[in-house]
């Protein structure tokens, strides 16, 4: 990462974390939902359910932050702020790298907050496993950041924020973050297994000491990342030629 991309990433993080609604939305909501679900179902399976709920709610919180951050990157592209950044010396590549780095950083508080809450409310796992699980979830959120970016390419302004909420909810529910996938009809289970959210949850649980998750999950996430990254690059190339006057 160039020093300019790093500087841009730093200030993007600073600016995003200053936005109170963003922080509340991405931290308080998943923490609250974890507390609610773990109170209701946490003691099932002799307390083992609590760890699963923690992983899923952290994934859900991270998902919200990631999609929002991705959509925000598009907003900067569209409003023309990128042109201002380019005059200051940031290249489009530096912008993309810096933005992705910033988006990756701002999903972390949500993950950490839910895991910390889990640790103090009786989730039984060593700190090492907890950190490993956070790492897995973190890596698994890359597709979600890219989805936000792609969404922002096709939707504008309030449609983009509404669209990101809908997509986020769909990915959370269909990926089994809120309810176990086994509760759904067969076709929805198949659909869910094609989503990165499902595999985040599985691999996250594995990192916490749960059952080994099948390697096909990595392939699914990899395909999502490749397809989304390609869309982002093509979209950026198109908009590069792009000021209208």
């Amino acid at each position: 990462m160039t020093s300019r991309a790093a500087a841009y990433a730093y200030h993007s993080i600073r600016i995003t974390l200053h936005q109170v609604p963003f922080v509340v939305f991405t931290i308080a909501l998943p923490v609250g939902m974890y507390l609610l679900f773990s109170m209701m179902f946490g003691d099932m399976g002799e307390g083992a359910a609590r760890a699963g709920i923690m992983v899923n709610m952290a994934a859900y919180g991270g998902l919200g932050a990631a999609v929002t951050a991705g959509a925000q990157i598009q907003e900067d592209l569209r409003t023309g702020f990128l042109r201002q950044l380019m005059v200051a010396g940031l290249t489009p590549r530096g912008f993309l790298i810096g933005s992705l780095a910033a988006a990756s950083a701002i999903v972390l508080p949500a993950l950490v907050a839910v895991f910390l809450t889990g640790a103090v409310t009786g989730v039984d796992a060593t700190p090492g496993r907890m950190i490993a699980a956070i790492g897995v979830l973190w890596a698994g959120l890359l597709p979600a950041i890219l989805i936000g970016l792609v969404l922002g390419m096709f939707l504008r302004g309030s449609a983009a924020s509404a669209g990101s909420v809908v997509v986020m909810m769909l990915m959370a529910i269909a990926g089994g973050l809120w309810m176990p996938l086994e509760m759904f009809p067969g076709w929805m289970q198949s659909l869910g297994q094609g989503l990165p959210t499902f595999w985040m949850s599985r691999w996250g649980a594995w990192a916490l000491g749960g059952p080994q998750a099948p390697a096909i999950g990595l392939l699914v996430v990899g395909i999502w990342v490749a397809a989304l990254a390609l869309t982002v690059l093509l979209g950026m190339r198109r908009s590069r030629g792009g000021s209208r006057r």
Binding site: A7, R14, G80, F81, M86, V87, A88, G89, S243, R245
Partner: protein, 298 residues
């Protein structure tokens, strides 16, 4: 490197098309270091596209651009060029200080933030939210953005839009101050009077092409000659004089456009001794501009 001898801006045979539209059409332009140049043109004449190419935001379809002898992106990267962009969105949710800090961190050799705030007169706006600024205040912030990198070349795209008369005057005092330090300034404006008084050189752009280039007074002279007003003779008599291209009845007498006002005046006094109230005036740059670009409205 002797920076003084390298032209601040070199544009060589540059063309840019957007689909069917040719925004900039085979433009050649050289701006010596330290010059203040005004770029005139109607909306869509290609001013903003040309500026974006100078900044390296848009790539030319054909031709070559050099800023301080470097490719535009390299010049931007080294902080040689700064700009007040017309449509450069700023972050509406952020404070002026927060956004300036962000841009400050990207520059190669920025001026201290407080100095920029003082020079652009935004010190009192630093903690205000950008989205809540008035049009004139916004322009001051954009000016601060242009100065941040301490550039040698400054592009100003419609800098005084949204300013009231007093703010505009004050703003020009500040720009002149910046220009006096030897910086090259390229200014795009709708206000012809601004171009006439502030720029030593005026380039008129029409449908992507340069159609006039020179000091404002020269352009004015070369295009439409002088205007002759006279009371006494009829319009037909005035039109028949040498050096007069056309003559029409005016409220009080005759208004004539001259190609050679000296010859017209000599003949007028010889042939029509009763003529009075004679007035010869240079047309304004606005007259010249309208005549130059009038093809565009048809």
């Amino acid at each position: 490197m002797t920076a003084d001898q390298i032209p601040a801006v070199q544009v060589h045979g540059v063309t840019k098309r957007f689909g069917e539209i040719t925004a900039v059409d085979d433009v050649h332009l050289e701006v010596p270091a330290g010059q203040v140049l005004a770029l005139l043109g109607r909306n869509g004449a290609g001013k903003s596209t040309l500026m974006e190419m100078l900044l390296g935001i848009t790539r030319p379809g054909a031709g070559e651009i050099r800023v301080g002898g470097l490719a535009p992106q390299e010049a931007s990267s080294r902080g040689l060029i700064g700009a007040m962009l017309q449509n450069g969105a700023l972050l509406p949710e952020e404070t002026v200080r927060s956004m300036l800090r962000l841009l400050h961190s990207l520059h190669a050799r920025p001026l201290p933030l407080e100095e920029v705030a003082e020079r652009a007169d935004v010190a009192d706006l630093m903690s205000r939210r950008i989205g809540k600024l008035s049009g004139g205040q916004m322009q001051r912030v954009r000016f601060a953005v242009a100065l941040l990198g301490d550039p040698d070349v400054i592009l100003l795209d419609e800098p005084t839009v949204g300013m009231d008369v007093e703010t505009r005057r004050d703003f020009w005092v500040r720009i002149r101050h910046v220009a006096r330090a030897g910086r090259t300034i390229v200014l795009a404006t709708h206000y012809l009077q601004e171009a006439e008084t502030e720029a030593e050189r005026v380039v008129v752009l029409d449908r992507g092409r340069i159609i006039a280039d020179g000091p404002g007074a020269e352009i004015t002279r070369s295009i439409s000659g002088r205007t002759l007003r006279v009371v006494g003779p009829s319009p037909a008599e005035v039109a028949a004089l040498p050096g007069v291209s056309e003559a029409v009845a005016d409220a009080e007498g005759v208004l004539a456009r001259c190609t050679d006002s000296d010859a017209a005046l000599r003949a007028l006094l010889r042939e029509h001794p009763q003529a009075r109230g004679i007035e010869i005036s240079p047309p304004s740059l606005e007259d010249a501009f309208l005549r130059l670009t009038e093809g565009a409205v048809r």
